[in-house]
């Protein structure tokens, strides 16, 4: 058996033939799996041995590469785009593991290629983190890109929003064919002006919905400017309950959706625009809408689990606008609410962001349980919005147990940061029987 630690000694070999790299990478991948290791490790090994590994394989795809980036909604939007493209008969490769770094892409590739290093797909749809996407597109220019939004998020990592916008602009500029942009986010829409020969396609909102979607500049003001003078390919015009109305190429289409959360529905408009750009004239709209109706949220993004016969919703919160939209999308009445805030690197280390969120909507029902490494920062935040709190416990496992025990006959909702969500998922199955409802 080959252990990955032994394989690293092969890194010095410069020109290993491709089939060998593939076999080696696949071996590392299965070993890493056996050891229960992370999804990116085999990708890292392959990247070291053959830096052009990804490039060579992706270059063989007839429809090329699609890159999806932005602050909020990448994972669910990517999932939607993949399913929508599949509805049109395409075979799609994607970095499904959610490891949105270059080596995560390499790791995902290793799982999908055959032993000769051939990838049997028509197109690759990749979710990339802003900072990593910049390096990725320099090596592999995408044919299509979709830039969702830019919000204050992990400023401790990327510096300032304007800097993050420049990273996203770089992705758009490296794109060869069509760039899909958010018309309602002024920073993203402005990217159109710095492009050359690429075609630009916008997705947008009806003016009546503008006030529901804060962009970073109106996080506190909510007096949004109309951008209706710029033509958008797909517009979300109405959203009530589970039903959404889109205006696609000037025609109204109303559909039910499985997705929860207003932001997910707006991202559906983004996904539709991108898929329309990729498929062009031959699009089968009936199949497209039928598929959209059945798209479920991605792991931890508003997904619903069953715990002791009652629904438990996990809502991932990463930044103020996402948290605010989550609070506005899901009504607290009847639900037991828990909030779990960690401050590991992937969560963002600065707690300032909690003070940009308005928690007043939780005043009436209160919060049953607060937890996470920064449980007391969260409790302090709620105190200043005069939201009643039943229990605070930084220990996630204990907090989760108490939360479930105290709200046995109630539907439950947990707002959690990324690493808190992973810990909750891990612990839930230990505490109780869990089923995935949606």
């Amino acid at each position: 058996m080959i252990y990955w630690s032994n394989i690293t000694s092969y890194v010095i070999i410069d020109h290993m033939p491709k089939p060998l790299v593939t076999i080696l990478g696949k071996a590392v991948r299965s070993v890493a799996r056996l050891r229960g290791g992370g999804s990116a490790l085999p990708g890292l090994v392959v990247e070291h041995i053959d830096p052009n590994f990804i490039k060579h394989i992706l270059a063989t795809l007839p429809l090329g590469v699609v890159v999806i980036s932005g602050t909020n909604g990448k994972t669910t939007t990517t999932k939607m785009v993949v399913e929508l493209l599949e509805s049109q008969g395409l075979k799609v490769f994607t970095n499904r593991t959610g490891s949105n770094f270059t080596r995560g892409v390499a790791a995902a590739l290793l799982g999908d290629i055959d032993i000769k290093g051939q990838l049997h797909a028509d197109i690759a749809v990749l979710e990339l983190d802003e900072a990593h996407a910049v390096h990725f597109v320099d090596k592999i220019p995408p044919r299509f890109s979709l830039i969702l939004n830019v919000m204050r998020d992990q400023l401790d990592r990327f510096g300032e929003i304007d800097h993050t916008t420049n990273l996203l602009r770089h992705i758009a500029k490296a794109t060869t064919d069509i760039v899909v942009l958010n018309r309602e986010d002024a920073r993203i829409a402005s990217i159109a002006r710095s492009l050359g020969n690429q075609k630009v396609s916008f997705f947008g909102l009806d003016d009546s919905l503008l006030s529901t979607f804060p962009s970073d500049d109106n996080l506190h003001i909510r007096a949004s400017k109309s951008h209706a003078s710029t033509k958008a390919d797909v517009i979300l015009s109405k959203f009530a309950g589970n039903s959404a109305t889109f205006i696609i190429d000037d025609k109204k289409v109303t559909t039910e959706l499985k997705l929860t959360g207003i932001y997910n529905v707006f991202n559906a408009a983004a996904a539709l625009t991108l898929v329309r750009a990729i498929i062009g004239k031959n699009l089968n709209q009936t199949k497209l809408i039928k598929t959209l109706l059945n798209v479920a949220p991605a792991f931890g993004r508003g997904e619903i689990l069953g715990v002791n016969g009652k629904p438990l919703e996990l809502v991932l919160v990463k930044n103020p606008s996402g948290f605010q939209l989550g609070l506005e999308s899901f009504k607290p009445s009847g639900y037991a609410t828990m909030i779990a805030i960690n401050d590991n690197y992937a969560d963002g280390r600065d707690m300032s962001w909690l003070w940009d969120v308005d928690f007043v909507s939780l005043d009436a029902e209160g919060v049953a349980q607060v937890s996470g490494i920064r449980a007391y920062d969260m409790a302090l935040r709620l105190q200043y919005d005069e939201v009643p709190i039943k229990s605070v416990d930084a220990n996630l496992k204990k907090a989760l147990k108490r939360f479930i025990a105290n709200a046995e006959n109630q539907p439950k909702r947990i707002y959690c940061t990324y690493t808190a969500m992973l810990a909750i998922r891990r612990n839930l199955s230990k505490i109780t029987h869990v089923e995935v409802v949606k």
Binding site: G159, E160, H220, M351, W353, W355, I373, R381, Y384, D385
Partner: protein, 240 residues
């Protein structure tokens, strides 16, 4: 609640609010109410008329683009602010506006952005960004706990005191151990997190100065700060 009202001026709330600075305004508002006063918040943005009746001023950090938008307007109201400061009005400025309350900010391109000169401090843009949890100590306020994220490095002149001495983190610059600045009842600091909720002694200092100045005396009833205490304890254990 009494008819005693304290007015908080939130300086450039639209363009300088990036690191949860609204938390500082909310903290003052709530504590004033819990102490039995009526609080009123006025947002001041460029082009607005500067109000006559102001008891506390709070300002925050912004991006470079935000600073560019407000810098000219700030100079036009600088003398009003300095006059209020000299009359003992309590003021809190965080990060970007802390820098512009100094003499100048020199950008990476060598451009000088003039400040209002309330603090005898100078700030220089550097390539290194100082990011992470920070703990400083002051005799007056005890441990001051927060988070810093800035590439400007600030140096204190003769006529200004540091707010605290750095115990963990960088503070004003990478050369000395000073963090922030104080002049009369004006406090400047790089700390967010937000600063006031987790450091209630500073919030109460600003409130006390404002109430005493306006109404002669301030009697402080008890606020339950146990969440703040526990949040401070947790923060002290976190890595840089």
């Amino acid at each position: 609640m009494t008819d005693k009202t304290i007015t908080i001026l939130h300086l450039y709330s639209h363009d300088m609010n990036i690191y949860g600075d609204r938390g500082n305004v909310l903290c003052l508002q709530r504590r004033l109410e819990w102490y039995g006063y009526t609080s009123r918040v006025i947002e001041y943005n460029q082009g607005d008329e500067f109000p006559d009746d102001v008891d506390i001023i709070v300002g925050g950090g912004g991006q470079d683009s935000g600073q560019n938008k407000i810098k000219t307007d700030l100079l036009s109201i600088g003398s009003r602010i300095c006059e209020l400061a000299d009359n003992d009005t309590p003021i809190l400025m965080i990060c970007g506006l802390y820098q512009l309350f100094g003499k100048f900010f020199k950008t990476a391109d060598g451009e000088i952005i003039e400040g209002i000169g309330l603090f005898d401090i100078e700030t220089y843009a550097k390539s290194e960004r100082l990011i992470g949890n920070i703990v400083t100590h002051s005799e007056q306020f005890g441990d001051i706990i927060g988070y810093e994220n800035h590439s400007g490095q600030t140096f204190l002149g003769q006529n200004v005191h540091a707010l605290g001495r750095v115990r963990l983190g960088a503070g004003n610059n990478t050369i000395d151990v000073s963090e922030g600045a104080t002049y009369k009842n004006v406090i400047g600091s790089y700390l967010h997190g937000s600063l006031l909720p987790k450091n209630p002694s500073i919030a109460d200092f600003l409130i006390q100065k404002a109430v005493v100045k306006k109404y002669g005396k301030f009697t402080k009833n008890k606020i339950d700060d146990s969440f703040a205490e526990l949040a401070r304890k947790a923060a002290l254990k976190r890595p840089r």
